[in-house]
Symmetry: C2
Subunit: 104 residues, 2 copies
DNA sequence: ACTTACGGTAAGAGATAGCTTACCAAAAAT
DNA sequence: ATTTTTGGTAAGCTATCTCTTACCGTAAGT
């Protein structure tokens, strides 16, 4: 999907990757996510907003606390994109090797 | 691997993604890759250098012509990283759903 | 040997992205 | 009702990224 395009943009930033690592094993509150990260909490909010926009995380308000979690579907679409690219590349590589042999 | 980190950085740029699309079905010369792209050939050279450094493409000099191709291995490492993240997220999601049900 | 074609490198400019501080809104607690 | 806690938003600064033009090296062709 073209969504993968935005997801790849999102995954380019180290801080966003660290956020996803924090969410890897379950939902977390914003404060928990920001704790330990080398940037301010507002910066984390901005990253979460972007991650939500491209479908990599989902938000569940719980009173004044906001809980975030990885959205498996968004990550799945990205995997599908890379899988397609990978399969085509493998096929092209195999074809190339075959041609190399025939050149001997 | 930590290589996935750099690969994700590389895939963030639209021009680099278009380059990979051009290489998707087989090796191409630099001139062929640059043709049709909205940037100059030196820009393409710079992108190819970066893609090579993070293991997403390989370079095969053929005289004064330089042929590039997707490196299936580099792409595979990236897939592996995303697969791990995806599997953990799915498990966490399932656990979350289960807990939701037990809360009824 | 000279010329042409191909492509990598360097330097500088412009755009973009991420961070910080300051501020605001809403829910919970007292 | 007031205070406290939580987190999203705005504005501005800085750093980084990508682009272009200009230049150079090397291999092939004549």
């Amino acid at each position: 999907m073209t969504n993968a395009r935005f997801a790849l943009d999102a995954l380019a930033d180290p801080t966003r990757r660290r956020i996803l690592e924090k969410l890897r094993h379950g939902p977390r509150r914003v404060g928990e996510i920001a704790a330990g990260l080398p940037v301010s909490r507002p910066a984390v909010s901005q990253h979460l907003k972007l991650l939500k926009e491209c479908g990599l995380v989902v938000q569940m308000p719980a009173g004044t606390r906001h809980v975030y979690a990885i959205a498996p579907q968004g990550l799945g679409e990205l995997r599908a994109y890379l899988d397609g690219l990978w399969e085509d590349a493998l096929a092209a590589f195999a074809a190339h090797v075959a041609q190399e042999k025939s050149d001997d």
